[in-house]
């Protein structure tokens, strides 16, 4: 009867069931290829079933949150699936996240349990030792319990291996949350975006149809696991029965190694933020007619500079190039544009395109009425991808998830904070931000979050953060203007070290300028345009570190 129970579960369609289906149909096919390890669909299915059994034994029940602080690895992906099979939501925590931020995330999501590996164990141990909330259970997929300087784990890999690999009957519905992803919040507290099974399913099914992804594909896993692009890599691969090839993070340092990875793994699909592509371009790391297996290349997260696009399209003439656009709040991506031919000029811009199936893009004015073709307005998203909102934060949720002004049904629209226009063909063009949120290397960053953290540093008298466009591969460079408190003998490296204790590495300013006092405008407010001009003058135009991509070729 086990088979019947499982069929019932599969028919319910939750995102973990893609793996279950592959394990039934093609058990020995590789699901994940990582360094020298090949994890088959059967292994992935059975291992995650065992983990789910342990989680339930530890007391996890439907709807509980389980945080995991693990480096990118097959084990981390097994952890995600195991959590889902226990009817819980996973909360990825970056192993490089500062402890104070991890604490905020745990306080917000109140996890029933936390999973760690060797690289996340010390961080989580430090946070949990002084954690004020209810104490979660702590487990690891590593074979042996972790070393002494870490809190005692409640279970380890040996305990997981002793469990049954039988499938679980899931109580969750597709409308339940599958995971919570924390993004930058302007007041210094990260916001937890709840992502449901159904929104992931809708999006992934569209990608399989549109791109024709199938079991012959070998797809990249470039994005870190706490970043929502990884949801497409992982579940897109599993839904298609393809191989997922996670990219070890250190490859980001050496563009030639990254190119060799694409070549050696015979990848058929590459998906990343534009900064990685700019990096490959800047070092001219893509071989002429290289990557013979590559079928498609997608990017998302921010604007890809056209010179980089031209470079790639000339080097890789048989590859399909698609721009994807969308915030985490609307699940991975909401619109797409496949570039029909290599742009004729480096100044041509690329639209974010038209809505994916089940989604809708709206360009509205301040009264939330549609603007005419070509007119600038605020970009809103409606449809199947919309998150139910921010985790336990109805106020923030209500401020951006709004009732749809057009319909009687309780439909909602999400205000992206992006400015856009729609052309006569219905294609949407991104025109910038309506607030101080920026994108750097694909990361969403609220400058206010960095300022809040700086204001808490006692050796600073004054500080301000601005962003300038560099034309380099990182797009926007974060700049910090600072004034030391009276008598403080400190340099920018000291301030940076202090700041790194409370914000993630990708939020750390790249450029620093020390002032005796910050420039003010007539109202006594910090003169940010003036600061931007100062930073531009001090840091742009002189060194090759900020050269325009494509200039090298």
């Amino acid at each position: 009867m086990k088979g019947a129970v499982m069929k019932g579960a599969v028919m319910k369609q939750l995102i973990q069931h893609w793996v279950t289906r592959q394990a039934e149909q093609r058990p020995d096919a590789a699901a994940i290829v990582w360094k020298n390890v090949r994890v088959t669909y059967r292994e992935l299915e059975e291992h995650s079933n065992r983990l789910a059994a342990v989680l339930k034994r530890q007391g996890a029940v439907r709807g509980d949150r389980i945080a995991f602080c693990m480096a990118k690895s097959p084990e981390a992906i097994t952890a995600m699936l195991g959590v889902l099979k226990a009817d819980c939501m996973y909360v990825p925590v970056d192993v490089e996240c500062p402890a104070s931020r991890v604490e905020k995330i745990l306080t917000a999501c109140e996890p029933a349990g936390v999973l760690v590996d060797a690289s996340g164990a010390r961080l989580m141990g430090d946070v949990l030792r002084s954690f004020a909330g209810p104490r979660p259970f702590l487990g690891t997929l590593e074979e042996m319990p972790l070393k002494e300087n870490v809190l005692a784990t409640d279970f380890c890999g040996t305990d997981i291996a002793a469990e049954s690999s039988a499938p679980h009957v899931c109580e969750n519905d597709a409308s339940d949350g599958a995971h919570i992803l924390f993004t930058s919040g302007s007041t210094g507290t990260p916001k937890g975006v709840v992502v449901t099974h159904s929104s992931v399913i809708t999006y992934i099914n569209w990608t399989l149809r549109y791109f024709g992804i199938d079991e012959t594909d070998r797809v990249s896993g470039h994005a870190p696991l706490h970043f929502d692009l990884s949801t497409q890599d992982i579940y897109g691969a599993f839904a298609a029965g393809a191989e997922l090839h996670p990219v070890p993070p250190e490859y980001n340092l050496l563009p030639r190694k990254l190119a060799a990875f694409i070549q050696d793994h015979r990848l058929t699909q590459w998906f990343s933020v534009p900064s990685v592509l700019n990096y490959l371009c800047r070092f001219d790391a893509v071989p002429e007619n290289g990557f013979p297996h590559l079928r498609r290349l997608m990017w998302c997260g921010e604007v890809l500079p056209t010179p980089t696009l031209i470079y790639l399209m000339q080097k890789l003439p048989s590859v399909q190039f698609t721009n994807l656009y969308g915030p985490t709040e609307a699940t991975i991506a909401s619109s797409f544009y496949t570039v029909p031919e290599c742009p004729a000029s480096e100044t041509e811009s690329i639209p974010i395109g038209t809505a994916c199936d089940g989604e809708e893009l709206l360009v509205l004015d301040e009264q939330r009425l549609p603007v005419g073709p070509g007119e600038i307005g605020d970009l809103y998203i409606a449809g199947a991808g919309l998150s139910p909102g921010y985790w336990r934060d109805p106020e923030k949720t209500a401020s951006v998830f709004l009732p749809d002004p057009r319909s009687i049904e309780p439909r909602r629209i999400y205000r992206t904070g992006d400015l856009a226009r729609m052309d006569e063909e219905g294609r949407v063009w991104f025109l910038g931000r309506a607030d101080t949120q920026i994108k750097s290397r694909g990361y969403r960053i609220e400058l206010g979050e960095i300022e809040t953290a700086l204001h808490a540093i006692d050796v600073l008298e004054e500080s301000a953060v601005v962003a300038i466009e560099t034309g380099g591969f990182e797009n926007m460079a974060i700049c910090c203007a600072w004034v030391p408190a009276g008598g403080a003998d400190i340099n920018a490296a000291d301030v940076r070290t202090r700041l790194a204790e409370s914000v993630p590495r990708y939020m750390l300013p790249r450029h620093w300028l020390q002032f005796d006092r910050l420039p003010k405008n007539a109202n006594g407010k910090i003169d940010r345009p003036r600061l931007k001009a100062d930073f531009r003058e001090a840091f742009l135009s002189q060194k090759s570190g900020t050269a325009v991509p494509g200039a090298a070729t």
């Binding site: 030639r256 800047r282 590495r505």
Partner: protein, 90 residues
Amino acid sequence: MSDTLHRKIIELFETEMNLSVPDATTDLIEEGLLDSLIFVDLIVHLETMFDVEIPVADLEFDQFRTVAGIAEFVESLDAGAVSAKQDTAA
């Protein structure tokens, strides 16, 4: 000799990139001190400081893992040029 070079590179991290590197054996990748942005800056600064050309195509992770590794790598590139620069700086 190599101690001087270590100090110079640690100083370069501090003054040019605003990064405090505890010592020459700190694992820069593991400690999260080196990312792609800083890496590009580092190459530019090393090339300027030591008047060498860094063959980006052939780099290995381990050559940049520690300040000691960077020093050894820079020395291997052009021992003559590095020591000449150091002499004039001293």
